[in-house]
């Protein structure tokens, strides 16, 4: 392992953990939507590095929110303690691009994939922009706690079991907020992104390019572009999400 970061803070947040690491300068160049690759120990099991999307990047540290321990590599990370060293490389891929005039940002995601949206939220707030966050989760417990968000962020939720907003609340919320927004960023499963695509098409029949961007819902096993397991169909050919993405224009994703 080549140590490039040190775990400095480990706090519970919702169902997951917020991990802050002090990191080498090159890692701090990670922009929202870009990712880092984490080596999970020496033992080659789990074998591959894991793609991590920081939720916040500071001047000498960055933070991750890990909310599911189902993956063996993420579970390994969750067992690290303050002071442990990590082997991270990156940043990799191409992230979100917001134009200066895009001031009203609508973030819409499934809770499990919210990390890159939170990083974008921080950037938008730092340039005095406005942010609305719509989050979908199976249950209220899987949602990001409202207290974890800056007060200036408008936060709406929808849950499959109705414990924090009804399952179809997302569609009505999207319809309501979309006319206000001049930029939209989405992250979630293919089914979730298809739903957002339909809503964007209904609200904005001719959205300008760059209005709606989305994280491609694909795995990033090698992170370099070699394995091709992250191929994304854009309708005009297949592209490697780890090189051309993982952020794509939502309208070009053939989901």
């Amino acid at each position: 392992m080549t140590p490039t970061a040190v775990l400095t803070e480990r706090t519970e947040l919702g169902q997951g953990l917020l991990l802050r690491v002090q990191a080498r300068p090159e890692l701090l160049a990670c922009r929202p939507g870009q990712f880092l690759l984490l080596r999970c120990g020496h033992a080659w099991t789990p074998y591959l590095r894991r793609a991590l999307f920081p939720v916040d990047v500071g001047h000498d540290s960055l933070a991750f929110w890990i909310d599911s321990l189902a993956d063996e590599g993420i579970a390994w990370l969750s067992r690290r303690q303050v002071g442990d060293v990590l082997d991270l490389i990156g940043p990799l891929g191409k992230g979100f691009a917001l134009q200066t005039q895009q001031r009203r940002l609508l973030l819409v995601g499934e809770a499990a994939q919210v990390a890159p949206l939170l990083a974008l939220m921080q950037v938008q707030l730092s340039r005095q922009g406005s942010v609305v966050l719509l989050l979908q989760a199976p249950t209220a417990a899987a949602l990001l706690p409202p207290g974890a968000l800056p007060p200036s962020v408008e936060y709406y939720t929808a849950t499959d079991d109705g414990t924090a907003g009804s399952a179809d609340a997302l569609d009505s919320l999207l319809a309501e907020v979309m006319p206000w927004a001049d930029a939209l960023a989405a992250a979630g499963s293919p089914a979730f992104l298809r739903r957002v695509q339909r809503r964007v098409a209904a609200a904005r029949p001719e959205p300008f390019r760059g209005f709606a961007q989305a994280m491609a819902p694909v795995p990033l096993p090698c992170g370099s572009g070699a394995c091709l397991a992250c191929l994304v169909d854009t309708g005009r050919g297949h592209h490697r999400a780890c090189q051309r993405g993982p952020v794509f224009d939502l309208t070009e994703l053939a989901l």
Partner: protein, 289 residues
Amino acid sequence: MSAAQRRAADAGAAPVVNLAPRHKLGLTLANPVLLAAGMVGYGDAALPGLTLGRLGGFVTAPVTRRPWRGPLPQVTETTGGLLWQRGLWNPGVRVVVRDYGPLWRRSRAPVIVHLAGDDPDELAAVATTLEQTPGVVGLELDLLTPYQDEEGELEAAEEQVQAVRAAADLPLLARIPLSTSDEAVQTLVERELIDALVLAQPPQGLRYRPADGGSCTGQLHGRGLAPLLAARIAELAGWVGLPLVACGGIHTLEEALACLAVGAAAVQIGTAVWVDPLLPERVVEALGG
């Protein structure tokens, strides 16, 4: 480590290696550390920390005459390794050369192109194009398959090699299965079909999914292959009069040096570079580079 390599290491220089001593052009590399087919795509897919220019060379992802698209590639982890179902995905030789030829021309690392397919005419067409492409110093071709009739297969392999030979005067490395018999290896060597033997093609693996009764298949890459590879290299090194290139399962400096010590002229590092991109350079440094 061979005596020559030890001398070079003692002298503080990585050992220069010729992987095609029988070929009129030869295939001289600055050191015996290469990357296996496709591990950095066509040279455009290296992780931070991996400096291709420090290596003896790299083998590209597969190239066919026409674009090849099949089922979407998949990677599935197994204990200590992974199954990679890549297929032959590539945009065809014309587009590969258009898009990556400029990169190969500038590359400090020699480029060996992995030919794919089994039709001799198609292989010849690809080889013809590649011979005229600056930066390409050699070709690699998968020959033979496990579990098949070797007699018929050897004839097919001979046809493929002859077609490539007739089309392009470039050194030719043959990557064969680990299970290839001594007799088949002897035939390849005696007929002077190839310049070097690469051991080995990744074996096929399967991972069963108890949850839904399905399974994932693909080429197996992982640490467990390293001792198998070293054993076969050691067996063949005594009598095969061709350079042997060890490819498969090498995940540590020690495993790379072990292959060289038992008779490999060079090593190809595989999926380990996706996890440990500094590994190839550590091997070069250990050899004195």
